[in-house]
Amino acid sequence: MILPKFEYNKAENIAKAIAFYESYNGQVRYLAGGTDLIPLVKLRLSTPMAIIDLKGIEELKTISHQGRSLVVGANVTLFELKNNDMVRDYFPVLHESLDKTSCETLQMRGTIGGNILQGTRCLLYNKSLEWRTALGFCFKMGGETCNVVPNAKACFSNYCSDNALSLIALSASVNLSGPQGNREMKLEKIFSGDGRNPFTLMPGEILTKIRIPMKRSKGAYEKLRVRGSIDYPLLGVAVSIKDNAGRVCVGGIGSTPLVYSLENINKDTFTNVAKKAYNNARPVANTALSPGYRKKMVSVLIQRAIKRALKEGK
């Protein structure tokens, strides 16, 4: 598929990237690995005046141990992060979700920052312009209806990052830089709850670093998908446990992941979390699998992930 016209600029540092953003009056998209952005632009779901390439920014490419955190630059590729010894030893849940993300070739191109900030997806949204025009535009395309759920007031597109779920389970936070300055926030706070515009990032903001508290954990990631490779999650469950307490994060259903804490882990506490998540999950008919099946699997995968985390992740 042929790309629409846009200009290309490469930024050597964050200040330069933000300057480009301002010089185009915000009509730009930031490019890292491009595995999410380029398909969106090809489908005319995003039509920027210019693309700002962030791959030349050296400080976004490093993984370092600072104080009590592992600090990961947003442009570190998924493959590099997966093969990092510290990730393997300290954060098994993240190692697993990285391994289950897409396929090896795309892991070598896709970045952790881009993976976190990927667009939300829907069976009736990620389609060509002609296809979408024939059906009529939905909320997320600027229309006034949802094509999946008649008379709905909201957008039910799914957030499909595997690794954000693991990072939330690990209580990670993110650093953002934008025209208004720098800030740090908990990863789970970047979600707006609205599928049309799923993130609370301010215009022009760039995700620069991810900070993961440096503490050895047990963990597991369970992913529901049709094929064993390439697919986005139709449901993802991340569990991370430290000292008999932990966090469970459920994603792939709706635009915001669900987060639960686990305390005094025993059979009752984790069936309770599974029940709670089952009741809160609201899948709709916008993926390759039925909503009823995905809802049932929430409870199954949570219990499976917790059991596996307790057994394996020593």
Partner: protein, 156 residues
């Protein structure tokens, strides 16, 4: 529209193009250099038919803008033959009958080449995992896996 001067290596040859900013590497390789061994399948990064090797790693050329590859070194299927001799992977694919329609073959071979270059003795599990990046709709995966194993043995 402003074009960008991009200099890179294709199959060990230094080239310079004035690329459109919205031109993909796939288009550049096929249309400017006639390297039609690079195939366009889905055009969305899902199928792997357009895979080339960039600086030792496999890359979906349909997802990459040509200005992004400035300074890089690209290998396509056409560049695997050295001194009139085919690459061991190409030989193994023929020997094992790992080619049916042939559309996925160049992507498969280049993905496998990157694996053999970074891992001395890949296990069958490693090969399956790597090859699962690419789609073969004739579903000849078994033969492809056998061919990569064979080439891996010969190389080691």
């Amino acid at each position: 529209m402003k074009t960008t001067k991009v200099t890179f290596h294709v199959n060990d040859e230094k080239v310079t193009v004035q690329a459109r900013p919205y031109e993909t590497l796939l288009e550049t390789l096929r249309e400017r250099f006639d390297l039609t061994g690079v195939k366009e399948g889905c055009g969305m990064g899902a199928c792997g038919a357009c895979t080339v090797v960039m600086n030792g790693i496999p890359l979906r050329s349909c997802l990459v803008l040509t200005p992004e590859v400035n300074g890089a070194s690209i290998t396509t299927i056409e560049g695997l033959r050295k001194d009139g001799k085919l690459h061991p992977l190409q030989e193994a694919f023929m020997e094992k009958g790992a080619v049916q329609c042939g559309f996925c073959t160049s992507g498969m071979i280049l993905t496998a080449k990157a694996l053999l270059d970074r891992k001395k003795r890949p296990t069958k599990k490693d090969i399956i995992k790597t090859i699962s990046s690419n789609i073969c709709r004739c579903t000849g995966y078994k033969k492809i896996i056998e061919a990569v194993e064979e080439a891996g043995k010969k190389k080691a």
